[in-house]
Structure formats: C-alpha cells, structure tokens
C-alpha cells in the first residue's frame, strides 16, 4: 500500500475542543476540512451546524478539579448524553476515577497535570479505552514542558491508548489544517501518520457519533 493512500479514503475530520464557536470559525473549519466540532461556548444560536456546508456542532464541557466529589457534583448537572465531557484532573484520585467513569469522554492533559499520567494511569486508560486529549497549544510548547509531554505521548501511543488532538481555538486563525497537523505530529512527536490520522478523525468521531442530536 502506498504511503499517501491513507489520504485517499474520505475522512471525517473532527476538532474535539474549540473554546469559542462563531459563524466565521465554523466557515473556516468547513473550508479546511473539519466536518464536526465540539465547542465550549457558542456565540451564535439557532440552527447552527445543521446546514449542509457547515460542520456539525456539539457542546463541550471541561471539568477541572482536584476532588472526586466536586467532579461527581458537576457531572450530576450535565447532560452527558448530548455533551462532550472532558475532565482535566488536577489530582491523582480524579485522574484514576475519571479513567473508568463512563460519563467522561476524554481526559485532558495540560502543563498543570502532566505528572499524573504515569504507567498506572496508562494501564487504567488502556483497560477502559479512555482517550487522552492533547491540546495543540501544549504540543506547540506554548505552555512549556514539551519533553515531558513527548515522553508521555510516545508511551501512550505505543501502548495503543486512544489519543485525541484538539485545537483549543478561541479565534478562527488558531485552527490548524488536519493534513499539516499530521505532518507536525510525525516530525515533532514521531507519531506515524496512520495513528495521527486516527487522532483527528476516527477516535473523536466515534465519541461524537454516540451523542444525541448529532
């Protein structure tokens, strides 16, 4: 099979974490190839994401906490069947607990919690097939600690823990073309294009397609 043939198959590219969605951002996302977005804030209402040439939009909630009871309380008030739920654990208990809770879709890794993702966490996440979400600003080294992230990404990718790459974009120009992203992952983090492709297409699409209203 040729090296470039993976791109011949039509893919649904998904950005699983956009901070603010507006009409301009949705148009640009559609132009560069994204077919589904998960937005934390929606600046336009109505039939957003329902037109033919606009990506499908799902609401996203990110819960950052260092206490399991706080996460539980927040999840109790969330319609997790129609929202993309991400937990940013700030303590070991929350990291372990969120890895096996079925309401949590992904676990977010940032510069604040990198050290929590050890081998034991890897084992739990692999057992429950819980995806690890990595924001692009962190990959680009805007938060620092890139080498720690590199080691963890290599460890998790080699252990076949599902990875999800998200842009965390607030403005339209912070989006990144999926093809450029694959090349970046390959060059900077040694993630093969075949695995990189799954992180922006099949894995987040599998999560989004389970939700109601998509």
């Amino acid at each position: 099979m040729c090296a470039g043939c993976i791109f011949l198959k039509p893919r649904v590219f998904v950005d699983s974490f956009v901070r603010k969605c507006n009409t301009r951002l949705l148009n640009i996302a559609w132009i560069i190839g994204y077919r589904a977005l998960s937005c934390e804030e929606l600046e336009v209402g109505g039939d957003l994401g329902k037109s033919i040439d606009s990506p499908r939009v799902l609401r996203k909630i990110v819960i950052s906490s260092n206490s399991v009871s706080e996460v539980r309380n927040k999840l109790a008030g969330v319609n997790y069947k129609s929202m993309f739920v991400t937990v940013e654990p700030l303590s070991m208990e929350v990291a372990r607990w969120s890895a096996h809770d079925t309401r949590v879709d992904t676990i977010l890794i940032t510069s604040r919690n990198t050290e929590l993702f050890d081998k034991r966490q890897l084992g739990i996440m692999k057992y429950y097939s819980k995806p690890l979400e990595i924001p692009i600003p962190y990959l680009l080294g805007e938060d620092g600690a890139e080498s720690a992230l590199y080691r963890r990404i290599r460890l998790y990718a080699s252990s076949r823990v599902p990875l999800v790459i998200s842009s965390m974009a607030t403005h339209w120009h912070e989006l990144i073309h999926p093809y450029s992203l694959l090349k970046f992952l390959k060059l900077s983090y040694d993630i093969p294009e075949r695995i990189g492709l799954l992180t922006v297409s099949d894995i987040p699409w599998f999560i989004i397609s389970r939700k109601e209203g998509v």
Partner: protein
C-alpha cells in the same frame, strides 16, 4: 634501414610506457575515490496553498511568515536546506505556490499549518496539493475552489 629500426623501437617503447601510465592512473584514481555516492541533483516540489487572512497580505509578507515559522519550529539548518520560496501568489484570492526541496516537503506542509500571522494580520494557511512541476501547480491553482 637504421631509421626504420629506431622508429620501431621508439614505437614499442611508447606503447609500453602508455600501458604503464594507464595502470598508474587507475591506481591513483582508486586511491582518490572515497566510496561515497555522488550528490544527486536537487529535486523540487511545488506546494499549492491558500492563505485565509483577515485582510490582504503581500507575497513578501507570506514568504516572511513561512520562513519565520519554519525557523522557529525546525531551526535554521532545516530552513536553509529546505529554502522555501513563494514563487506565485495572487493577493486577491490568497492562493499561491511555494517551491521547496523535495526532501523537506513535510516540513513545509507542517509549517504552513503552524503559520498564524502574516504581515501583522491574522492568517491561516492551508496546503492544497503538492506537485513536481510548476505547470501542474499552475493548473491546480486555477482550478482550486478554496
């Protein structure tokens, strides 16, 4: 008769000398060869892209932005070897073509995606297609809908 004999001797001596010279030359040549493959001709690739910017930006701005981003993420040595050049750019549509050394096409495509500002304006650059000839790049440029 004597002249003929002398010329024959000289001819034979020159033939022997030529043979010796060839053997010596081959020996010297073998010593000089290092066993390395010769450096091949630098092949180029043409990457068609579209720059989605909030305002119009010039060709120089786009080229500077790409160069700066490549230097920032991959270093000056990769930039020197890749030597990306914006050879075609239409300011009204934002579409253009970048020429790059064939071995560094991946670096350029990654760089295009990472470029967020050009000429002080917010920009998003999306690669469309990579070709081996400028003629084909021009065709894609004219047909592209993005």
């Amino acid at each position: 008769m004597l002249l003929l004999a002398t010329s024959m001797v000289l001819l034979i001596a020159s033939i022997i000398l030529l043979g010796k010279t060839i053997v010596y030359y081959r020996g010297v040549k073998r010593l000089l060869e290092t066993g390395l493959k010769p450096i091949g001709k630098a092949r180029k690739r043409y990457v068609v892209f579209t720059a989605l910017c909030e305002e119009r930006v010039s060709q120089r701005d786009v080229e500077n932005a790409i160069s700066e981003t490549m230097k920032k993420h991959y270093g000056v040595s990769i930039y020197r070897k890749a030597s990306p050049q914006v050879i075609l750019y239409d300011e009204s549509t934002g579409r253009g073509v970048v020429r790059v050394l064939h071995a560094y096409t991946s670096y350029l495509i990654a760089t295009l995606g990472l470029t967020k500002r050009a000429g002080g304006k917010n920009c998003l650059i999306a690669p469309i297609k990579t070709t081996g000839t400028l003629r084909k790049a021009r065709e894609i440029l004219s047909k592209s809908k993005i």
